[in-house]
Amino acid sequence: QNIKLAVTDLVGLEELQREFEPFKKELERVTGLGIDFLPVTNRTAALEALRFKKVDFLLAGPAEYVVMQKRANAKVVVGLYRPNYYSLVVVKADSPIFLIQELKGQRIGVGSVGSTSRHLGPIQLLASAGLEPLKDTQITHTNLRLAWEGLKKGDLQAVGMGRSDLEGFLAQEPKDQQNAYRVLARSGDLPNDLLMVGEHVPQQTLEQMRKAIVDHSASLIASIAQGGDYVKRYQGMRFLMSIADKDYNLVRTMYRTAGYPEYSEFIGN
């Protein structure tokens, strides 16, 4: 009997969506379980699958975890920490805006709704600077690449994104343009990605999985990084054992700030 492991919406881990074979092999080897590895490009589908017990494990981001807690009782197996996982608000270098408060009344591009580093993080940055993002600014949800073009053309005054996104954009700009953008604000590191397990999975399987990951974390991470060019992205990654639900209260706060209070109830309150 194979276990089903789905992966979704890991910003910065997109490679894993298509080059998962080494990781899957490694995970099978260390856990001794057969694994059906299912990369899913949409988190809604992945979460519904977990809720309807069609998937056993789900590797997802913090925003997914919060939603999943609300919709079904998923447990955490391990967390996945990546250094330099934070949100930015970027403006053009020649922009007159130097304080985040100056974004009041401006048009700001962010990623699709519910993305931790591209939507929730940047919104929270605005909020912590004292703005009311939904009232004081015009938030435009879009594909970030489009937002980037919009920033260049001046349609948008600022764009919220993750750290790795900015690196990706800059790498594609011509040399003389790479210093044409300025980080207006950056957040602290965001909560961790994590591996969730559906409530229907026997405790024993869960333990088996958790133990295997703990014991072989180095080789598993190495296997993710086997994508050649992308090795660098995954440097410094590690698995974390002690994940508490309250670590994600930050994300719940972000949901509230972003205007989705339904996902902001703190567990245990």
């Binding site: 988190r43 809604t44 979460l47 519904e48 309807f52 939603v67 919709r71 591009g109 699709s112 709704v113 519910g114 435009t140 949800h141 879009t142 594909n143 690449r145 489009l146 937002a147 073009e149 919009g150 260049k152 053309k153 001046g154 349609d155 948008l156 989705y260 339904e262 996902y263």
Partner: protein, 269 residues
């Protein structure tokens, strides 16, 4: 004419050429292989029906809390879809003539335009959106242009098909009169293929409304973005409302246009 020799019954089937027999067998084998690869299981589908019902029940009753903004979005979407479709149809008609088997000025032109239209279709919406955002910036114009491309990819091909399927007698008669190609197209091909052209055009309009997600991507608002957000946040009741609204819009357009069509087609020139 009047061969009196006893005539035999024709063969029941013409013996297929070895080539076509081989091609046929290859197709059947491919299909069988594909079906087995698709993991089709009717029993699984049947046992899963209750889950489907559960999701459907989550859509009931459709949410009414955001009715007004949604209605506005639908309206905006319809307007942009209308413009995109009208422009797209205008461009498609000459392309269709150029790429139709019987009215192309030259086979090379035909092959080129056909491939071009196929190519336009193959390029995904997001890529078109990117092109247009880079050139005209975020906003309704970029969205409309994307819809125009969508419409061309679809309409040019189906218009060409309609043109090819017109019964050849009447156009032949006009050619025998010495009418120019343009006259033949306008006086015979166009009236004769009119019902089919109108149907295709209406479908294109419907398609544009449905694919309005791209309008959201380029920051032009529209109902597609609303729908995507509802789904992302598991507000299936809101999603249901939006789907119903689009459905009603589509039905309404069909009603109005089927009336317009009957009165238009009856018109005696």
């Amino acid at each position: 004419m009047t061969e009196k020799s006893p005539v035999n019954l024709p063969a029941r089937f013409e013996r297929p050429s070895p080539g076509s027999l081989l091609a046929f067998l290859a197709f059947v084998a491919l299909l069988a292989w594909s079906i087995s690869a698709a993991g089709i299981s009717v029993s699984e589908l049947l046992t899963g029906l209750p889950n489907m019902a559960k999701i459907a029940s989550e859509m009931m009753p459709p949410a009414t809390d955001r009715l007004q903004p949604m209605m506005y979005s639908v309206w905006v979407t319809f307007q942009m879809a209308l413009v995109g479709t009208v422009i797209g149809i205008g461009i498609s008609l000459p392309l269709a003539v150029l790429m139709s088997r019987n009215y192309t000025p030259h086979q090379v032109v035909r092959a080129f335009i056909r491939s071009l239209v196929s190519f336009i279709r193959t390029i995904p919406d997001l890529a078109w959106a990117l092109f247009f955002v880079a050139s005209v910036g975020l906003g309704p114009f970029a969205g409309t242009l994307t819809l125009v491309m969508d419409t061309i990819g679809f309409c040019a091909r189906f218009f060409a098909e309609s043109i090819e399927e017109v019964e050849e007698g009447p156009p032949e008669a006009l050619a025998a009169i010495g009418a120019s190609k343009l006259s033949v197209i306008l006086c015979a091909i166009l009236p004769m293929s009119m019902p089919s052209l109108i149907n295709t055009g209406l479908f294109a309009l419907e398609k544009a409304v449905r694919s309005s997600v791209v309008l959201g991507l380029v920051g032009a608002g529209g109902i597609g973005a609303e729908l995507a957000t509802s789904m992302e946040l598991f507000r299936f009741d809101q999603a249901a409302t939006i789907i119903l609204m689009i459905f009603l819009l589509v039905l309404g357009v069909e009603k109005v246009s089927s009336r317009a069509r009957t009165s238009l087609l009856k018109k005696r020139q």
